[in-house]
């Protein structure tokens, strides 16, 4: 079953917007809601459209599934031009989640979720299986929730069902329009975390609209900060935006406290990870000694056949002993997920048994190592850049005066 959610890796496709313009008034001089926007959204990533209300971010998103038709320009979803497809068919292939879920109140949770599969003509058995699978995926007990009506659910539960409905036919693209906007902060944060967890599993291309900078930083792989007319003020990773805001507009948007935000939102995966010498668990001690001697550290990381870090070997512990690296290594108790924020990484480091901690992907695969020094370096870089920018601005202001 190729459409099961157990598929790992990227199932998303890239989206290209090429010179897209949307004007509401007929005259070509009228202010455009989206003004000549060109942007490419990479496959399998969460791209956040961030901006104040009225900047055209929702319009931009709705252009992708043609709820709004562009005045000019081209939108490519994967290899196909969005305009080449019948709009309803196009939309059935794109997940759509809106604020307050937009569930149909007269349908049960199960019926809500099965709408798109029904339109696609799936048979009953397949739909039932899929509904249960999806409820499970979004963390709702299928037996308990399938036959309930939306009004019997809390806001957070409704939004989970909304996400399940959008994922029903396993679309490669998901559009989310301020999906968590109406939820209380605690529920919002939990759902954001779960979206990230889901995304690691599903690898969809997600376009996420919000006006909340914290949400954007937390969720986005890439953030497009938009100004009036959907003009891109900056399009970069959260860490890059925090570290190098492209303009004063972006800086205003981030607000003060960018160092704290950097800690809070920049992902470990965004910083440059250190690399250490690696050995396999089966390596003989002589081989380990050679490896350590060849490296500039007095230790090496034991990485198993599945690329999972299992332990440390140091030149002291193996000194004068026999056996394999696996037998001699001190087991690793703490690893830091690549998805963790710098703050979480710091906490992990403070509690870790060694100063250097391996960073792993969600499936446990080893990526590199991080230490307090790495994070400190990141912060001092940020400080340097801020200072430089301030000076630049002062001198630029002086020139124009």
């Amino acid at each position: 079953m190729s459409e099961t959610v157990t598929d790992k890796g990227t199932t998303g496709v890239p989206i290209e917007l090429e010179n897209v313009t949307k004007r509401y008034s007929a005259s070509s001089t009228g202010l455009a809601a989206v003004d000549d926007l060109t942007m490419s959204i990479p496959a399998g990533k969460i791209v956040v459209l961030l901006g104040p209300s009225g900047c055209g971010k929702t319009t931009t998103m709705r252009l992708i599934n043609r709820l709004i038709e562009p005045t000019s320009g081209r939108i490519m979803i994967g290899d196909t031009d969005a305009r080449a497809q019948e709009p309803n068919e196009l939309r059935r292939g794109i997940g759509y989640v809106i604020q307050q879920a937009g569930l149909f109140p007269h349908m049960t949770v199960g019926t809500n979720i099965s709408q798109v599969p029904q339109m696609l003509g799936w048979d009953k058995q397949r739909i039932t299986t899929r509904v249960d699978e999806l409820l499970d995926l979004v963390g709702l007990d299928s037996g308990q929730f399938r036959d309930r009506y939306p009004r019997q659910l809390s806001g957070g539960q409704q939004q989970r069902v909304g996400v399940a409905r959008a994922l029903a036919a396993d679309p490669s693209v998901l559009l989310m329009d301020e999906p968590f906007g109406a939820l209380d902060p605690i529920t919002r944060e939990r759902l954001q975390d779960e979206l990230l967890r889901l995304q690691e599993e599903l690898g969809k291309t997600i376009v996420f609209v919000t006006h909340d900078i914290d949400e954007a930083l937390r969720i986005g792989d890439q953030i497009a900060i938009l100004d009036k007319g959907s003009r891109i003020a900056q399009y970069a990773s959260p860490a890059e935006i925090l570290a190098n805001p492209a303009s004063e507009y972006v800086e205003q948007f981030i607000g003060s406290g960018s160092a704290m935000r950097l800690l809070n939102f920049a992902k470990v995966a965004d910083v440059e990870l250190g690399q250490v010498a690696e050995v396999a668990p089966g390596d003989e001690v002589t081989r380990v000694r050679e490896t350590i001697a060849g490296a500039d550290t007095a230790y090496a990381l034991v990485v198993d056949a599945g690329r999972r870090p299992t332990g440390w070997v140091t030149s002291e512990t193996i000194d004068g002993r026999d056996g394999t690296a696996g037998e001699l290594s001190a087991p690793i108790e703490t690893t830091i997920p690549a998805r963790a924020t710098l703050q979480e990484a710091m906490e992990g480091l403070l509690h870790a048994e060694y100063d250097v901690v391996p960073v792993t992907k969600a499936n446990g695969e080893y990526l590199g190592v991080v230490s307090l020094g790495t994070i400190q370096q990141e912060l001092s870089d940020l400080k340097e850049r801020q200072k430089a920018r301030r000076q630049e601005r002062v001198s630029a202001g002086g020139d124009s005066a």
Partner: protein, 215 residues
């Protein structure tokens, strides 16, 4: 002769007229519902036309029942034809108005969600808008029933079928033997019929309204 004796002596006729009245109202309602919902569905998305439809139905509504029946006799003659026409015309207003109000009252966010997941226009109407508007439409049909029930009695003026005959023939010879009883029997019949229809609508409402939107 008291009322009870009157009813017993004419049981067969009364039963026939009672059923005839019920059947007349039912058939007129079916036609009014089909036409009314169709007009509502066709116009609700265009507010000026929807207003026009509602006010046209409203104008018909203001014509006195007796006058309308009288007017309809000219082209349609006496009997069933003018009666059914008049009842359907009167029955339209509440149904048209409630269909339009009900459909316009469906949350735009839901329609947007329905479009967003790829529902076609007819599907949105059938799967989302009509089920959501149904309780309001049903209320319109109910009001329509109450209205046509009374007006149906007046149809006897145009020699129409039903219990109106008892009322009109009684009134025309009031003071005579059994005249008052005849009027009262006719009125009672209409009231009982109205109550039965209303009870049926309560049941229909319960069985056809989704639990998710039932108040």
């Amino acid at each position: 002769m008291n009322l009870w004796e009157y009813i017993q002596s004419r049981q067969e006729l009364l039963e026939f007229e009672f059923l005839q009245h019920a059947s007349m109202i039912f058939q007129c309602l079916v036609v009014a519902t089909v036409v009314g919902v169709a007009v509502g569905v066709a116009t609700y998305r265009y507010p000026p036309i929807a207003t026009f439809a509602t006010s046209t139905a409203g104008v018909i509504f203001t014509i006195p029942a007796l006058a309308l029946l009288g007017l309809l006799i000219v082209p349609l003659g006496l009997g069933v034809a003018p009666t059914v026409t008049a009842l359907v015309l009167y029955g339209l207003l509440p149904i048209v108005r409630n269909t339009i109000v009900g459909l316009q009252g469906v949350d735009r966010v839901l329609v947007d969600a329905a479009r967003g997941i790829g529902m076609s226009r007819p599907r949105i109407l059938l799967r989302v808008e009509l089920p959501m508007a149904w309780p309001v439409i049903l209320t319109g049909i109910r009001v329509s029933t109450q209205l046509t029930m009374g007006i149906g009695a007046i149809a006897a003026y145009a020699s129409g079928p039903g219990l109106g005959d008892q009322i009109f023939s009684g009134l025309s010879r009031i003071g005579g033997a059994g005249a008052l009883e005849s009027v009262i029997a006719g009125i009672l019949g209409v009231v009982v019929l109205a109550l039965i229809f209303d009870a049926v609508f309560v049941l229909i409402g319960r069985f056809t309204t989704s639990r998710g939107i039932r108040v």
